[in-house]
Symmetry: C2
Subunit: 411 residues, 2 copies
């Protein structure tokens, strides 16, 4: 196929114009779902879709679709990502995937005319859960029929408002959410910033994602005996801090030893009573363990649980845990992975194949469609912050891979 041509200045101008909506603290963006900024961003996305000659529609939850009908009809090939942000996030997380889909469809139409298969670009309404903490993936869950009838009235934001109220305030209809479900999507391709340092360390602009990691969150409580820090000898203590330190070292070392892509994080810990001269009574903490391999993740979890039981028993501590989040790995469609790796090769763009350690809308879309993701290099692996950054050359490379793959699928 011919080279896909992307205008870097147009890409940069669109990123900057979209990033100005909800601009925050210099390079940041604060654009929570159903906020005035979100309405404005969706409006701009719709306008640009129209300008590109796409047929625009908005569904019941506020996902905005731009369709380029194929000559053969049939199920759609869809690309996009979410337009909402963290508080504040940056210009790239989510938004880049929606803009890239729009730019890809626009240039394919301009360069190659009407496709055989129907292509759609989508701006998904909400992924981050930054206004309504339990509403994450609201847009992709609506498309895949995973929102229950009572969810809109029971999903509350940090300020106590329900998501139903927030929807109504921007002219959407919570009672019609079921109408957003789609059963005519064959494939979903999501371009996203990597949010990690792997591409940067490999000195490559783009990756094809062959899986989204499985993850488990443990909430653990380790209880011992609270004692005076001076009067109680070491050999008679049942110190949950000593047990916690051993477990934290152990699970972190286990993931490190297993090697990429295994990761285990202790991000949260609370000590009770948290006095400097008191042997604590308890330490509660979280373990976030992730692996994209369906078998190896279970091995990782089992190693962590064995260690926790062993340390607690040896130290005479009580241990309890709840599994607060359990997400199965989401494997990309193997044929789509091959299609997009080949597409990159045809464009002369070197890539690597990797798993995503973060969750994405694609996980939801995988319930109704074949999926694959394209990652664009992140500066310093940062995201969810105004400092997140991807260079225009890297973004252009990502869009060229996306467009070339869509071309291979749809033309």
């Amino acid at each position: 196929m011919t080279e896909i041509i992307v205008d870097p200045e147009l890409v940069e101008a669109m990123i900057m114009e979209m990033g100005a909506i909800g601009a925050h603290s210099g390079t940041g963006v604060w654009r929570t779902v159903y906020s005035p900024e979100w309405v404005a961003a969706n409006g701009l996305f719709a306008k640009w879709c129209e300008d590109a000659g796409l047929a625009v529609s908005t569904d019941a939850v506020g996902n905005v679709w731009g369709k380029l009908a194929g000559s053969e009809g049939g199920k759609s090939i869809v690309s996009g990502s979410h337009i909402d942000t963290q508080k504040p996030g940056g210009r790239y997380d989510g938004t880049l995937g929606a803009l890239s889909a729009l730019i890809a469809l626009k240039l394919l139409k301009a360069q190659f005319g009407q496709p055989r298969r129907t292509l759609e670009a989508v701006s998904l309404c909400e992924e981050e859960g930054s206004r309504f903490p339990s509403a994450n993936f609201w847009g992709s869950r609506a498309i895949t029929g995973q929102i229950r009838q009572d969810d809109p009235a029971t999903t509350r934001g940090y300020d106590g408002e329900t998501i139903a109220e927030a929807m109504a305030a921007v002219g959407l209809h919570p009672s019609e959410i079921a109408s957003a479900k789609r059963d005519d999507i064959e494939s979903f391709i999501e371009l996203h910033i990597e949010q990690g340092p792997i591409l940067e360390h490999a000195d490559l602009p783009v990756a094809i994602v062959d899986a989204i990691t499985g993850l488990r969150h443990y909430a653990v409580t380790l209880t011992g005996e609270q004692n005076h820090a001076g009067a109680f000898p070491m050999d008679l203590r049942r110190d949950p801090m000593a047990g916690f330190a051993e477990i934290a070292s152990g699970v972190i070392n286990t993931a490190h030893r297993l090697g990429r892509p295994a990761v285990t994080t202790i991000g949260r810990a609370e000590v009770y009573p948290n006095g400097s001269a008191v042997v604590p009574r308890s330490v509660t903490f979280t373990i976030d363990a992730r692996h994209p391999d369906p078998e190896k993740r279970l091995e990782l979890y089992a190693l962590h649980e064995t260690l926790m039981r062993e340390v607690a028993a040896r130290r005479g501590l009580d241990i309890t845990w709840d599994i607060q989040i359990e997400k199965e790995p989401c494997l990309s469609d193997a044929a789509l992975v091959t299609t997009f790796k080949t597409a990159a090769t045809t464009q002369g763009i070197p890539t690597l194949t990797m798993a995503s350690g973060a969750g994405h809308d694609s996980q939801q879309m995988a319930k109704i469609a074949k999926t694959v993701m394209i990652f664009v290099r992140s500066k310093d692996g940062r995201s969810h912050t105004p400092e997140e950054f991807s260079s225009i050359p890297d973004i252009v490379a990502g869009i060229r891979v996306l467009a070339a793959g869509l071309h291979a699928l749809a033309y």
Copy 2:
């Protein structure tokens, strides 16, 4: 010498009557300095001193003294402890030492008449700092001349009130604190509950304390790089939680390996930003390290500091620490230790010799007098709680050792 006779029923009755003043949650006592309960407790102590034929006086901060003048005059031999409690504490911490001194002087007078040397029992006004956090050792600091002129007006309680206001409210005169200083105390002997499990594990009622531990509090901040828990591979992280866990394990193991009486405690830790899916940016924590040996404590601190530097450097973390508390060990007077060990032997009471891991008024009194302490066995090593408990037979044993030692010194 003859056997010292102590009436267990009298001892129990006095403990219960004093413990009823500020009684809290069953077996607890809530009696902060300069509260109505504290006034009542001091009044009862003074009354009992008078009943015992002691000459009673109250100094400028509210320490109550009961004196049994010796035929030879000269410097005093003083025994006592503090009458204030935690919020709530129990019936024994502090109060037992004041009551034991009073009981010892009463029975010595009854059994042996006037002493050669002057004996005094004292109820110290405040040790715990439970109402005015920076006022701990207020009573013994007044006696040893360690309260500065502006302290009363600048020492504020948890409710904002100054200690000067609280003193005035109970008829004391903050401007006269300097008059509480004593320069005529030769020896100070403090009986106290152990607050630890060492006597219980040794199956002994009483210990002679040959040192009060030295202690150092470190406030440490370990800073790395905040990252996404999924997208950042283990081998590229600078995770302060991993460093904290290694340091916490290390310092606890060091103290354990050095053996009694070394103790090191991590009682307090705060994680930032403390999110379950975020590799933390920083962990701040305290290290409380104690050893009563003037040389070995420095070895303990040096081992901790070496480990902290090594772990931080190896893991690419920034580390800073402040030393928030530094207390030198307080060695008991060797002759007094021998006197009270011998006194116990003469009474047929088995003892062990140990260091105190907690701080006590004796540390202050050591600035002007020779000191020694007597520990009475604590149930389960507990204190600073309504559940603290020492048995009447153990308390009687402690009072007999105290009285026999005072007899040896003063008759």
